[in-house]
């Protein structure tokens, strides 16, 4: 019992200190450990298994749209990084530089990729000659490095895992279509698999990617009311193509520049899963992404037949579910607490009396609801319960987001909302970067996106009062 209390007590309540709660969950659910390499993390089995499921599901969706996977070098020679002016300005201050290979100093230093636009462009410039070579719809799964000063597990670290798609097209229209297609794919994935509702929209020029013509984003709201940029998709137009000389002969035999896109999603999203769904007992994983969906916990497992029955159920269920038996020598209370901390969507409690009555008790992680079920109907009922959890988790996250989103028309209302009502603030904007900068300086809120679904909240910019051009989602962000 002492041990059980220890496990539960160790978590700070999210209402007391959300940041500490987050760190506690990350550690206690054994997702991550700190490493001796400053700013870098060790992703432990429970954390990596979530990433593997994200990869599996996203990769399937990518390939259904014609994406092919490739692998580019992890190093970028300095001269290559410098080819696109905005891009190098955006990334050069935060890259790690390799200066020596073996015992020798390099003639030209190289950075470890912070992102691979320059490498893909360099490759495309050689590989693309004709319209027959287009489109190129390539993606790579890899790690990238950005020399951040402040780091937090999953959310911001010097090295992180991601995928980065890089495409080249004949026309501007095709590039824009692919940019939006991938943004929609990300949004559908977040909602359908991670049960995270997102706002789709376009970034302001101030917030867009270094070198992009337009950046689109999906923005999610965390439990503490802060926003998380959860995936981005960029349309580069022909800017990179001109900097790198990526040209093709079109059907009329004329030389043209390609139009390009890139899009990425990273392990940061695991931080999003934690902060959208978690509670004071730990992690809560949506069934579709949970590495283990069902934990069978035998009660009085020393009694004859209990463990046998538990394993019998496991082998019945494992064709359709990711299921485990906790047969360790810990007490049931400790096992419950551990299953809850790890966010396993349901447990099945199974004791001698249950077995006698040919029943088990399904306990939902998200609501703690207990459902007594005949063992003959277990598989059927489990499927129903897991589907319900998935749907309910999305609905709860949506309801939380909607109840933490306010519309404001005056700057006073805006400041009050940012200071006192954690969440999204919807407000009109004139389109002038000066207002965006002023808002950030005075409130710490940033423009999250100009949503595709526009609303006419008022006719005037919330900051300067001039004519408004667009409605913007604002908020504090990770």
């Amino acid at each position: 019992m002492a041990k059980e209390k220890k496990l539960v007590e160790a978590i700070t309540s999210m209402d007391v200190d959300f940041a500490q709660w987050y760190t506690d969950v990350v550690k206690k659910a054994e997702l991550i450990d700190y490493s001796s390499v400053k700013g870098c993390m060790v992703i432990k089995p429970a954390g990596y298994a979530i990433w593997e499921n994200i990869q599996k599901e996203l990769d399937k969706r990518f390939k259904a749209t014609g994406v092919e996977n490739v692998y580019m070098p992890m190093f970028i020679p300095e001269s290559l990084l410098q080819k696109e002016k905005d891009h190098v300005e955006g990334f050069a201050p935060e890259v790690a530089w390799v200066t020596h290979g073996g015992l020798n100093e390099l003639q030209e230093r190289m950075c470890v990729r912070p992102t691979s636009e320059t490498l893909f462009c360099d490759f495309y410039a050689k590989d693309i000659q004709s319209y027959r070579d287009l489109p190129k719809v390539y993606n790579q799964w890899c790690s990238v490095v950005r020399w951040e000063k402040e780091t937090r597990p999953f959310l911001r670290s010097r090295e992180f895992l991601w995928q980065e798609g890089h495409t080249a097209h004949e026309t501007a229209e095709q590039a824009e279509e692919r940019t939006i297609q991938m943004l929609n794919l990300y949004a559908d994935f977040c909602e359908e698999v991670l049960a995270i509702p997102v706002i789709k929209g376009r970034k302001t020029d101030k917030e867009k990617f270094a070198g992009a013509e337009a950046t689109y984003t999906i923005e999610a709201l965390m439990h503490d009311g802060k926003a998380l940029q959860s995936g981005t998709s960029h349309n580069f137009g022909d800017g990179f193509a001109k900097a790198f000389g990526i040209q093709f002969t079109d059907k009329q035999n004329k030389l043209q520049y390609v139009h390009q896109t890139s899009w990425g999603l990273s392990t940061r999203l695991i931080g999003g899963i934690i902060m959208v769904h978690g509670d004071d007992s730990g992690l809560v994983l949506p069934p579709r992404i949970a590495p283990t969906q069902v934990m069978i916990i035998p009660i009085a497992q020393h009694k004859e037949g209990v463990l046998d029955k538990a394993y019998e159920l496991k082998s019945q269920l494992e064709e359709n579910f990711r299921v485990k038996v906790d047969a360790s020598d810990k007490g049931p209370g400790f096992k419950f607490a551990e299953q809850e901390m790890r966010g396993i969507p349901v447990r099945i409690e199974l004791g001698p009396k249950d077995i006698e009555a040919n029943q088990g008790v399904i306990v939902r992680r998200d609501t703690r609801e207990k459902i007594v079920v005949s063992l003959d109907e277990l598989a059927e009922k489990l499927e129903e319960v897991l589907n319900t959890i998935q749907v309910d988790m999305l609905e709860r996250a949506r309801a939380h987001r909607d109840s933490h989103t306010v519309s404001v028309t005056t700057y006073d209302e805006f400041k009050d909302a940012i200071a006192n009502k954690p969440g999204f603030v919807k407000a009109m904007w004139c389109g002038d970067e000066a207002c965006e900068v002023k808002i950030k300086e005075e409130t710490t809120a940033t423009s999250r996106c100009m949503p595709f679904k526009q609303e006419q909240i008022s006719g005037h910019c919330v900051c300067c009062g001039k004519e408004a051009k667009t409605m913007v989602y604002w908020g504090k962000a990770y």
Copy 2:
């Protein structure tokens, strides 16, 4: 027709210049391209898809033995790399050093991992306390960097993709058991999936991994008679544990050092697939690893009904096979040459007369045998043909290896064999490193392994004539 000839003519015959043939295949089959980053490669879709299939199959086999995937940082601080004496001596001369992060010089430089023993040890030292924490059976899929001077696609490059398993156990016996288990897993994978027969054995002390107590290897013979080390598994004993202080309290509450292993297999093996199975028409992929197993090639595809029938067959077959239709506007001869170059195990030729007769022509890539088959029995026949190809490829590779393996008892025979008979040379060895060094200097052959299946070829060392301790496979190697 000009184009078709161009594709085929572009390959050097393997008998004329094997190295050039290899480079031609790698390029023409579109597996790899050179990059602007010296010594690093771009792995193109056709190459990466092979790696994805290797990953999928290996990962499944790993997990069936209890392996869990994790991710460690890509950087190793210099002081960490130096903790194990032999290890740092082995790797320090060939690592890439990061000296600056962003605009600042690092207080301590870090290398990009050439392998991750030191990172896993550093982690295990913190993470392992009790026998309850053991065994740890972790693996990671990642890229590593070794600053090679001479590079060749897949076989030797400054960055390559691999998996590295790192385990910690209570006892020396358990570590040895895991080391051998993983070697056997690699060997089975090579034979069953890649159709590459391998010799299993132990490396001599001279050839073992830097820091290992024992290194086990699987050695394959390429078409040109050179050996390829195709996977290694190391038993570290408690050497790293002592250097890093990885201790646990055992069941008697006594503090003990763990016993460790590591094992790895890399994209180098794709080079092995090419060099074991390829021919003068290009790549030949074993069906179980081929990203595309079946290419349907319509003949006279402009004629009514031909393309429709091709796509109809594709949709019938794609439940059980990885199948594509080549509906491009190239001529059939060009399509055949392309399918052959890319090593797709079978093509189905399908023309108007075939359709009329309700038949298709299956053509094997490996033997070019043509099999006319009723479309009603196509799926059944395809499965049979693909299985036969898989079996035949392994058998041919085994026959080639066996006919290129000689046993010798005198040093003159040895030198003659190495100089004039490309392949493995089996010879007895006294166990003295001096003989091994002399043999290498005088013949360029290295000891490949001391095979598990020993034979008593003679009683005397082939080099010095003293009493022999063990039979060794020798050969020139990649």
